[in-house]
Amino acid sequence: MASSSMRQFRAMLRKDIVMELRTKEMLMSMGLYSLLTMVVYFVALSQAGAGFDPRDIAAGLLWLAFIFTSMLGLNRSLVHEKDQGCLEALLLSPVDRPVIFFAKAIGNLIFLLVVEALTIPVFAFLFLQGQSVDVSTVALIPLVLVAGSVGIAGVGTLLATMSVNTTGKDFVLAMLFIPLMYPLLLGAVTATAAAIIGGPEGMSLFWTGMAWVVGYDVIMLLASYGLYEFIVGA
């Protein structure tokens, strides 16, 4: 039983990845969107003055880009499923509902991580040139990225499954997603900022932030996993 679930999971995940590699629609739109966000950041910060230290707000700006980019991607990934009738076909096939949830969520997680991995160097190139950072602590940022993205992808998949069936798709997703994401965002921004600042105080703050994010992940993923069945079947 378990192995057949695993096979179904792999098949669904492969379907998402193959489709994405053929169309490159989600990655392209998310990547370009995050690039556009960087342009908007530049405009927003253009009057900040010479004494301004971009390291202070780098974490917040990064997560701002991730949260908006992820909403775009989540919406797209579920709109595809719905428009092409794929979700209905999945529901007709003898697949456990949680397997659908995990396949969609992991697919979204992979695309999100790819976009994040592309965004960070671009952001560093555009805004953090010539700034000294502590390499040993900055190396911890991938930890926050993975933990934060797991929460975004998990809860986001559940909420996007709801919002594709509503009349105001994008707006409804934002309205549901951002307030629910608040604890995770706060923890993730705290941890990322602490990693950029570094030092022993930064490290203790980093682990506090990480504890928030991981705690949020555990609670919200369990809730999403338990409730997905009712959403996808409704």
Partner: protein, 308 residues
């Protein structure tokens, strides 16, 4: 079996009488406190709240609200004590025994509000008897909405969807009242309309979640689907309520917390009566809306029968 309207009016009468009694008690029986029951939180980046008569201030502009009060300001290593004339982002002017002294905000180190030189009572504290019961009930009613949502998911009976929805409407009302009274109080006590402080922030998020619940409901056309989506979202959203409730006890926060045994008997009695009265008023609104919803249902079914 009494009708919803009868129950609503009974609850309305009880709630009205109790709330009125509580407010009379709060204003004419309970004294104006010296904030001895408020636990203080250490915070260095904003006002440290200790009640208006012994409040430490670490930025000149936060003194603006205490014109006429007896203040003590440390600036440039010297201590100046006297009646506050005015304060803003640039300077603080204090009338001392030797005449007016102006301190620039750059030199300002710390300030302490020693008391009111003309003994103004802290009437702002009276909002406690309204704000706190209303806020507590908003958490409780949100809990009921989540409970009915769980019941709906378990049974899929439409009745529970209606109950959850009406509970959420009552929550929205109480949350709005809490925010309105809270904002008035923060202006009176902290000198600012809003502060991104843990309790205020989490409660604001809760408000957004309650609003989002109705946005979600209004944008789903299919009735069964709407009920299921709303139920799932209210369960997810309810996770924020305990966080918001306990956060002032978990991490440093400016928001006051009632300590066990900290209230004088007249204050405690007025407070408890206000709580019971507010619960009765909330129940009355709930029953009124329930009656209305059931009437709507009857009209709808009568319409469909007539069309046949």
């Amino acid at each position: 079996m009494k009708s919803h309207t009868t129950r609503a009016f009974i609850a309305l009468a009880i709630g009205g009488v109790l709330t009125l009694a509580a407010f009379l008690g709060a204003f004419f029986w309970a004294g104006v406190p010296d904030f001895g029951f408020v636990r203080t939180a250490e915070r260095t980046d904003s006002v440290r709240y200790q009640g208006p008569f012994d409040q430490e201030i670490d930025e000149a502009r936060y003194l603006a609200n205490f014109a006429g009060y007896d203040v003590e300001v440390v600036a440039g290593g010297e201590t100046v004590r006297g009646d506050l004339v005015e304060a803003d982002e640039t300077h603080v002017t204090i009338e001392t025994a030797d005449g007016e002294v102006t301190v620039s905000a750059a030199e300002f180190e710390t300030g302490r509000v020693r008391g009111s030189s003309y003994g103004r009572p802290d009437w702002g504290q009276k909002i406690f008897y309204f704000h706190v019961p209303v806020a507590e009930i908003s958490f409780i009613v949100f809990g009921f909405a989540a409970f009915y949502s769980i019941r709906f998911i378990m049974t899929r009976r439409r009745e529970y969807d209606i109950k959850a929805r009406v509970s959420m409407e009552v929550t929205l009302m109480f949350v709005t009242l809490t925010m309105a009274t809270g904002i008035l109080w923060t202006k009176a006590a902290w000198g600012v309309w809003w502060d991104w402080e843990p309790r205020l922030t989490t409660y604001f998020i809760m408000t957004l979640l309650v609003v989002a619940y109705f946005v979600l409901r209004n944008s789903v056309e299919d009735e069964e689907r709407r009920a299921m989506y709303a139920a799932v979202f209210s369960i997810l959203g309810f996770i924020d309520a305990p966080i918001s409730f306990f956060i002032t006890r978990l991490i440093p926060s400016n928001h006051p917390v009632i300590e066990r045994g900290g209230l004088e008997p007249p204050m405690l009695v007025s407070f408890i009566v206000a709580q019971i009265g507010m619960i009765a008023l909330g129940y009355a609104i709930y029953q009124l809306r329930m009656g209305e919803m059931l009437l709507q249902d009857r009209i709808e079914s009568a319409k469909t029968q007539l069309e046949r």
